[in-house]
């Protein structure tokens, strides 16, 4: 859905970008913003975006960051965004099973079904627990785009949110991490068997799980060492060494681990971004751990330490270059508080700012490896909006979908 407000905002980007003397090549015409209809109180999106290759649609979980979570579907062919419904109604949740948001990725499973999980979203989730106002726990949910049925696969852990999940596309098994205790969960959907493999984190939960093309699942421990679940062995493996980090990276950045990834299966690489602002090329192997290649920082700035750049998104363009929106959560690149779209050429490790956005246009972007067959990359975006309702520390914002194609105009 094209919106006039976004045309105006993109014009602002054009002016802003010209003033900033950005390199030629990528312009605002390579971008399109789509908003979410039927949800005027929509506040934010998190890691809650995914692409169905079977249905050629993008799915996004959108929240008011309190107690209302909508599932949206963007049809790539018709360029239409529609509200599939709100999670409590779709999943037949009771009032005491309220949910604050979808924080997990929305991941395609066997047959094109989209899997995701729910999160309490606010402090009442973490601290009220068994109190009548407390949080019952995050659910595993499965959306079938063909039938429009949302299947409730049950709770992960009592009182715990589910921050992220990964799905074995062959077996349909689901893997997830809980919040705040960072437990690694393995759920066999065929047997309805949930295994709690235990706590993996320190005081902060790494937000991203990812999988390789053999169905192995990856996470990190508190030392930022890769953890691998090999379904064939049914157990966790721990890498001997930590992922690379800049000297001086504070502990709270180390424990947060990986914030985004993008898969290059033909190249045998999974690109990773860490909370300590490293770009890594992980070369997985079917058994054991493969090699990790340090590609340097995600941004070369002089005003901040090398580890102090924030990037919770990543996608690989059809041109072989990585793209990511840098900034948010109080950490920004460039001058002032701006979000920048970065282009990273993995062949020569050159990176550049492609576009710059004021926070009124884009304030934060999430989403890993969401792309279609036409070279379009999809991200879940937010912009600062003083008219939006303030939601605690998450501020006042409006969410929207970002479509980006570095190879052609989308206007």
């Amino acid at each position: 859905m094209r919106c006039n407000i976004y045309q105006s905002l993109l014009l602002a980007v054009l002016i802003f970008t010209c003033l900033g003397a950005q390199p030629a090549g990528i312009t605002e015409k390579n971008l399109r913003f789509v908003d979410y209809p039927g949800f005027p109180e929509a506040h934010s999106t998190w890691g809650s975006i995914g692409y169905s290759s079977v249905h050629n649609k993008v799915f996004i979980g959108v929240t008011n960051h309190s107690d209302r979570v909508g599932l949206f579907e963007y049809d790539i062919i018709s360029e239409k965004m529609r509200l599939c419904g709100f999670i409590p109604e779709l999943a037949h949740l009771r009032d005491y099973q309220w949910q604050g948001k979808v924080h997990s990725q929305i991941v395609e499973g066997p047959g094109g079904a989209m899997h995701f999980a729910t999160d309490g979203g606010e402090s009442r989730e973490e601290y009220l627990m068994e109190h009548p106002h407390g949080y019952s726990g995050g659910f595993f949910l499965k959306w079938d785009p063909a039938t429009g049925i949302l299947s409730n696969l049950g709770i992960g852990m009592q009182y715990e949110s589910i921050k992220d999940l990964a799905v074995d596309r062959t077996s349909g098994r689901i893997y997830a991490v809980s919040y705040p205790q960072a437990h690694f969960l393995a759920y066999d959907t065929d047997k309805n068997q949930l295994r709690d493999l235990g706590r993996m984190g320190s005081d902060h939960v790494p937000r991203v799980m990812f999988s390789d093309w053999w169905g192995n699942i990856y996470y990190v421990d508190w030392r930022q060492r890769l953890i691998k679940y090999e379904p064939s062995a049914g157990q966790l493996l721990f890498a001997k060494e930590s992922l690379p980090a800049f000297p001086g990276t504070p502990g709270e950045y180390i424990v947060t681990g990986v914030t985004a990834y993008a898969v290059d299966q033909p190249g045998g690489i999974i690109f990773l971004v860490t909370y300590g602002a490293k770009m890594l090329a992980f070369h997985p192997s079917r058994e054991g751990f493969g090699n990790v290649e340090d590609l340097g920082g995600i941004f070369d700035g002089s005003s901040e330490p090398a580890w102090k750049y924030y990037c919770p998104n990543l996608a690989l363009g059809a041109n072989g270059k990585l793209y990511y929106f840098l900034g948010g959560h109080g950490m920004y690149a460039g001058q002032g508080e701006n979000i920048v779209l970065m282009e990273f050429d993995t062949r020569n490790r050159q990176k550049r700012i492609a576009l710059t956005f004021p926070l009124s246009v884009i304030s934060e972007v999430t989403g890993s490896d969401v792309k279609d067959g036409n070279g379009n990359l999809y991200f879940a975006g937010r912009r600062s909006d003083p008219k939006a309702e303030q939601r605690g520390e998450s501020g006042s914002s409006r969410p929207f979908l970002i479509i980006f194609n570095p190879g052609r105009s989308l206007q």
Binding site: W46, G198, E252, M331, S394
Partner: protein
């Protein structure tokens, strides 16, 4: 404070707005966490699923722990130096006694820094052993003292250095036993064993022996042993007359939940009073060992369980309330009238090779609490897949 995809914005916004965060963690100056468990490491660390710290005591500079393992795996005895803040010694129990899975009994003290504990077999019907644990630098020496009750595990122990006796509760039957270290003989008492009728009652609540047997035992100043038995009762064993007496006063209850009542933890105060935690509903109670009177002191938090209690050098009682599926709250209780203080989740800094800059460690599932002999430190043991030790100072 709730944090989302990157917590620094929240911190910055709060600072900018001059707003105090709603929640602060318990992170007193001088506190620290020790990395005890880490899978696939060249450092001395306990491997995954074999390190839940289910027994804990402090002897001199060392916090000594006994762990529980997942089925098919063996547990460890380990020692952490409190002054050097690191794991220094660990012994795989399988090297001493095969086919054991857990050391859940807690420790009893012997002379000269010796500790006693009991083990649980890895298989139903297997026999648990009594063990002696002692630091003999540079080693941690673990000795097998034999099987006190054939085909039963050792669920809880306490010891009397003066009488050279180890007392215990067997699992699953719930027998009380007294082991004489000099003669190496054990006398077994059945007064603590639930009757057939009681077992039928407990069956209706789908609770197992590990849910209703006395998790800890304690001695009073006269060498009498106190523990619990189903349903929600207390007993006293007098070594003088070798009698087990079921006390008239019972563990404080929440109506309708008596089947869950049992002693989760004990601590003895300087005035000789015994303080107990009820696993079922999480009440703290005080027992006058002579009068056998129970006083319900209330609940520190809404949740059940009080898995650990220990007196600090400041005269306060420290404990953990709450447990899985929720998470622990550290609390203190001032016997001089200060009441309860809920200290919340402890969060201490962990420094170790490879994480020299320090990381914050937050304690969620704390199963054991111990005080250093001088009362200057309270030590907390986690019960996780990868469990760590958390230590904070107490200032008298």
């Amino acid at each position: 404070m709730r944090r989302s995809t990157g917590f620094f914005l929240g911190l910055i916004l709060l600072a900018a707005a001059g707003i105090r965060a709603e929640y602060t963690f318990f992170s007193p100056s001088g506190s620290f966490a020790v990395e005890v468990s880490l899978e696939n490491s060249s450092l001395l660390r306990l491997p995954i699923y074999r390190n839940a710290i289910t027994s804990l005591e402090v002897s001199g500079d060392y916090a000594l722990g006994g762990t529980s393992a997942a089925p098919g795996l063996s547990p460890f005895l380990f020692a952490v130096s409190l002054s050097r803040r690191r794991l220094e010694l660990a012994v795989d129990l399988a090297q001493i006694i095969p086919e054991q899975r857990a050391v859940i009994s807690g420790f009893g003290r012997g002379p000269g820094g010796v500790l006693y504990a009991g083990t649980m077999s890895d298989s139903p019907g297997g026999s648990g052993h009594l063990i002696q644990v002692r630091i003999k630098e540079p080693s941690l020496v673990v000795l097998d003292l034999g099987v006190p009750v054939d085909k039963e595990g050792v669920f809880a122990v306490a010891s009397d250095p003066g009488r050279r006796a180890i007392y215990g509760i067997s699992h699953p039957s719930g027998k009380f036993f007294a082991h004489d270290l000099a003669s190496r003989t054990t006398r077994v008492f059945v007064e603590t064993v639930p009757s057939r009728q009681t077992l039928g009652f407990l069956h209706g609540y789908a609770v197992k022996p590990e849910d209703y047997l006395s998790r800890r035992l304690i001695l009073d100043g006269k060498g009498r042993v106190f523990g619990s038995l189903p349903v929600s009762r207390l007993f006293r064993f007098d070594p003088g007359n070798q009698k087990v007496e079921i006390l008239p006063d019972q563990i404080p209850e929440v109506w309708g939940r008596r089947p869950l009542g049992r002693v989760d933890s004990w601590a003895r105060s300087a005035d000789g009073s015994l303080y107990g935690g009820n696993a079922g509903d999480g009440q703290l109670f005080r027992l006058d060992p002579d009068k056998a009177k129970v006083e319900n002191l209330g609940k520190p938090v809404m949740m059940p369980r009080i898995k650990g209690l220990a007196f600090g050098g400041d005269g306060k009682l420290y404990g953990v309330g709450g447990a899985s599926p929720g998470y622990a709250h550290l609390f203190s209780f001032d016997p001089k009238g200060g009441g309860f203080s809920d200290l919340g989740n402890p969060r201490f800094t962990m420094v170790a090779p490879g994480i020299e800059q320090g990381i914050s460690w937050r304690g969620f599932r704390i199963g054991t609490v111990a005080a250093s002999e001088d009362g200057r430190f309270i030590v907390l043991g986690e019960e996780e897949a990868l469990s760590q030790l958390m230590v904070f100072p107490v200032h008298p």
